[in-house]
């Protein structure tokens, strides 16, 4: 039985195909369209999934959309009415989008893909999230927590999964949303909403949570785990271009200038910012205030999630917890939930955000609706398209790019390790691309984690990222506990997907400085030999050469672009950056002397 799930028209459009309950393929549309966070109808991702399954859309048994458009439409109409006349512009834009596209999704699927109307199903947004994390987890029984901006009406849901059933017992509704609270601060701190949230998370350790009391004025955390926002401080429920209002600014001061350089007295001033400005001291002091605000909202978000998780544990008494929704990508909070709540085991699926809803919707139809048994466990994230050596070679030959072909796997790995030990930055492209926002060794940029200056080298050469954003390590799963305070690290599944932050052991801070954040934490990806044999061998060989079983791993993309998909994307990124070596399966391309 073939079921295709899709998500689109909101944030990250994606498609996922399951066959008899096993995942065949899953990908986000942005990887093909090259538009970051592409929310359009996922034509390319659907085509890829169908091709991977060797079927036509007409052969599908079910086609499942990840939310219920009518209920969402109801929320837009009712909340627009509640805030008239301030909501006028929101209403106007919403009508244009809904009356032109979003209401007619069923008709679009019928007409464009030829799927019969009775095969098209709709699953509620948070139920899709819940299904996306529980069904691929290894648990037969688990509590479930889904937290994001907003779905139809729901912003937070809690419940449990048992066998093939997922039951959500509680929910919080719009506009009371932890995701939208965090997004309001993301905008206040000068970042793009739905894109810069992880920058706020990275900025937080440079500050002190001095303004927790002020943030607590905006959100009231209740004993039963729920929360309530004071909407007098926000405008996201009626405004198109502002998420917070004047009262918010009176509380926290004027917002940070969007995309301005961020540096504090303790962050350093990276060379790629150019010369220090004449008012460096003043700017550093101002930025310290914003870092303190970031630390405060991060602290309160963690408190809110811990509060929710503890209440859910009291209610269910279960040992396992599955998390999903955009807030599930807050890896610092995930780490604290595992360490500080009574839950013993945690699962977060790699595409925890809206993209993952495509997978959840398909699994919900198969297990919950049809009652079919569970067999699938997600132990790796490589569900995207693969480009075999023949395609890599065809691209290189066609474009006349000089390359070396190394068939001998061991010789290739030796060559790559030699380059990394030598301080070079390597583009590493192999196999199927990853599902979700993290590069986990198939579309990665690799470097030496032992060198403190490597963070700036990678930033200067390739990523041009803000200096406060940490780089993460890929570490051999069996050695992770030596480096991280993460008991049973090899079995902690969110760590396989780089979705959990843990303290780096004190004696290792100086061993892997490039991947140790300013607060002594790190976001490891534990690499398991069974799941990623080639990547595991590469790190093992690096360990043989240096004694350190880890590599600096960052996503293979330029700033603001989606992670590379094809050999052409990889080469273009390589050629327009300062990377030293590009490895595509068994093909090596070296940087030209005049390359930037």
């Amino acid at each position: 039985m073939d079921i295709l799930g899709i998500s689109c028209y909101y944030h990250d459009a994606a498609a996922a195909l399951i066959r008899d309950g096993e995942l065949i393929a899953a990908a986000e549309e942005e990887r093909f369209s090259r538009l970051k966070h592409d929310s359009g109808f996922p034509t390319h991702a659907i085509r890829f999934c169908l091709e991977a399954g060797g079927i036509d859309a007409r052969d599908l048994d079910y086609f499942v959309f990840y939310e219920k458009p009518f209920i969402k439409f109801e929320r837009i109409l009712l909340s627009s009415l509640q805030t008239v006349p301030r909501s006028w512009r929101v209403f106007r834009e919403a009508m244009v989008h809904w009356l032109l596209d979003k209401l007619w999704i069923k008709g679009l699927v019928r007409n464009e893909l030829g799927v019969e109307a009775e095969k098209i199903l709709f699953c509620e947004h948070h139920l899709s999230h819940a299904a996306s994390t529980f069904y691929p987890s290894p648990f037969q029984e688990a509590a479930i927590l889904t937290v994001d901006g907003v779905g139809e009406w729901t912003t937070t849901a809690a419940g449990y999964g048992r066998g093939t059933e997922v039951t959500l017992t509680k929910e919080l509704r719009f506009p009371h949303s932890l995701g939208l609270l965090y997004s309001a601060f993301t905008a206040y701190l000068g970042f793009q909403v739905n894109e810069g949230e992880y920058k706020v998370m990275g900025m937080a350790p440079y500050g002190e949570p001095k303004y927790v009391d002020k943030v607590r004025k905006l959100i009231d955390l209740k004993e039963d785990g729920s929360f309530w926002l004071d909407m007098d401080y926000f405008s996201y429920h009626y405004s198109l271009d502002k998420t917070f209002n004047r009262r918010f600014e009176e509380l926290f001061g004027p917002p940070r200038t969007p995309e301005s350089y961020f540096f504090t007295p303790s962050s350093g001033y990276p060379s790629y910012f150019g010369a220090k400005p004449p008012d460096y001291e003043e700017k550093a002091r101002q930025n310290q205030h914003y870092a303190d605000v970031a630390a405060s909202i991060q602290t309160v978000t963690e408190e809110a999630l811990l509060n929710l998780a503890r209440a859910l544990h009291r209610e269910t008494g279960l040992a396992n917890l599955c998390i999903a929704g955009g807030v599930g990508l807050n890896s610092v909070a995930n780490g604290r939930i595992l360490r500080e709540t009574p839950f013993e085991r945690l699962f977060v699926q790699p595409a925890a955000g809206d993209g993952g809803g495509a997978l959840g919707a398909a699994l919900w139809a198969y297990h919950s609706l049809l009652g079919k048994p569970r067999t699938f466990r997600m132990e790796h994230a490589c569900w995207g398209q693969e480009y075999p050596d023949s395609e890599v070679r065809a691209f290189l030959e066609e474009t006349g790019i000089p390359y070396t072909y190394l068939e001998d796997e061991e010789a290739l790995i030796d060559r790559v390790v030699e380059a990394i030990v030598d301080g070079q930055v390597v583009g590493w492209f192999q196999g199927r691309f990853e599902w979700g926002p993290r590069a986990l060794g198939n579309r990665s940029i690799l470097a030496d984690p032992r060198r403190a200056d490597m963070k700036e080298i990678v930033n200067t050469k390739i990523k041009f990222r803000e200096p406060y954003r940490p780089f993460a390590p890929s570490i051999l799963a069996e050695r992770a506990e030596e480096y991280f305070d993460l008991p049973g690290a090899a079995e902690v599944l969110p760590a396989r997907f780089m979705l959990l932050v843990a303290p780096v052991r004190e004696d290792k801070h100086e061993v892997i400085p490039a991947v140790t954040h300013v607060d002594g934490s790190g976001r490891p990806q534990t690499v398991v030999a069974d799941q990623s044999p080639r990547y595991h061998r590469l790190i093992s060989r690096f360990e043989e050469a240096t004694g350190v079983p880890a590599l600096l791993n960052t996503s293979f993309n330029l700033r603001g672009e989606p992670i590379v998909t094809t050999p052409a994307n990889a080469y273009n990124t390589f050629a327009s950056s300062g990377m030293d070596l590009l490895v595509m399966n068994h093909h090596l391309v070296e940087a030209k002397p005049n390359q930037p």
Partner: protein
């Protein structure tokens, strides 16, 4: 032509489902205002064609 007719047919079907949905959700008391809103929305769509407003965060 047949494609267009089919597409129109599908849209009428969905519009019918939407009305049934509103009825089922006991929103019948709101039908006059929602109809007005929808007509107003339709007018916006017909007059503006596309939306290019610089919204910061779409909640729809």
């Amino acid at each position: 032509m047949i494609g267009k007719i089919r597409s129109m047919g599908a849209k009428f079907g969905i519009a019918g489902e939407l009305i049934a949905f509103l009825w089922e959700r006991k929103l019948w008391w709101m039908i006059p205002s929602i109809t007005l809103l929808l007509l107003f929305g339709l007018l916006i769509v017909l007059t503006e064609g596309s939306a290019l407003a610089p919204f910061i965060y779409t909640l729809f």
